[in-house]
């Protein structure tokens, strides 16, 4: 992900060139902008991906972007998934309509959690975390998954808000 660490993803997906007034505005919050980008790397391509491969992280992010019809981020994450070598079932994750055949599998449980916490976080309860443990996730896996979901949703909101500023 050599280019991804140097190119600001949000500038890229919004097509903000050097002369863009919105780019200049974002630069007024340069620290925050930088930390948003480093948070992106920490969520999508951390030094130690452990039990969530880079490909899986990218396709989960694509799925969340699709759930919010965030076309710019969806395109970005589909491309990232390909770059990270996603194939087979992992590539299918990006499609919110897709479900694994085995509904009790680790992946199926993870996807139900991703969909719930993305679109309807208020409905999440302790039981949802118990289901993740039952599917074999450990404490760190659960926090990792929560962090990926939380970051991508933050990014979706930032992009949606910035589009209002860009277009109105």
């Amino acid at each position: 992900m050599t280019t991804e660490t140097t190119v600001d993803v949000i500038d890229k997906v919004l097509g903000l060139g050097p002369s863009s007034p919105l780019l200049a505005l974002r630069e007024q919050r340069a620290k925050l902008k930088h930390l948003t980008q480093t948070s992106y790397v920490a969520a999508l391509h951390p030094a130690d991906p452990r039990n969530f491969s880079y490909a899986e992280r990218a396709t989960l992010a694509a799925r969340m972007a699709a759930l919010w019809t965030s076309q710019e981020l969806l395109t970005h994450y589909r491309d990232l998934a390909t770059t990270e070598g996603a194939s087979g079932d992992v590539l299918s994750i990006a499609d919110p309509a897709w479900k694994p055949e085995d509904e009790a599998s680790r992946l199926a449980v993870i996807l139900r959690h991703v969909d719930l916490v993305t679109k309807n976080p208020k409905a999440a309860t302790r039981e949802n975390i118990e289901k993740l443990y039952a599917a074999g996730l450990d404490d760190r896996d659960i926090v990792t998954l929560a962090g990926i979901i939380a970051f991508v949703n933050y990014q979706v909101l930032v992009v949606a808000g910035l589009k209002m500023l860009r277009d109105n």
């Binding site: 007024q28 620290k31 659960i142 808000g161």
Partner: protein, 192 residues
Amino acid sequence: MSDAVHEFTLDALEWHPYVQPVDLQKATPEQLDALKVTPSNTKVSAYVLVLAQETEMLAERSPLFNDIMYSDGGLSRGGRELGALAASFVNHCIYCAQVHANRFIQLEKRPEVVDEIYTNGLEADLGEYDQALFNFGVDLTAHPDNVGVYQFYHLRETGLSDLEILDLIHSVAIFGWANRLMHTLGEPHRKD
């Protein structure tokens, strides 16, 4: 142990995690660094100890959160707290709402704004400025795929600068993040 709280409240709360926090006594140097633990600062909340399970993310997230909520200039501190509160009401994060409602009151000395939100929730009837911020926060949180242009113009008509709007967007968005951690990884209990 007191029962979990599932209704919005301004009472002091304590967050109880569903997952195992990092044991501070066994924390790695990377975890201690991300936790900002120093000999003079050894008090770390259960929430942050849970997030320390994933050190690399926590190390970026903490300074990002602080910059969004406390940076100089732009939108007032109270305005940012109102954005946080709007998000937390939509996402039903009882703990986040309690903390940021109280902080709003502390900063703005206008408890009636919080009273109205706690009474009427997303239908709160506020003064023009607060209403514009609150409605935009609710809309962006609930439908980032379909934010009302009307809500956006309302911000402009209220006189917010682009930088202030940018700060509001970030304060709402960072609670799209925080609510999804705090509300899903644990639950609040009333402090005894």
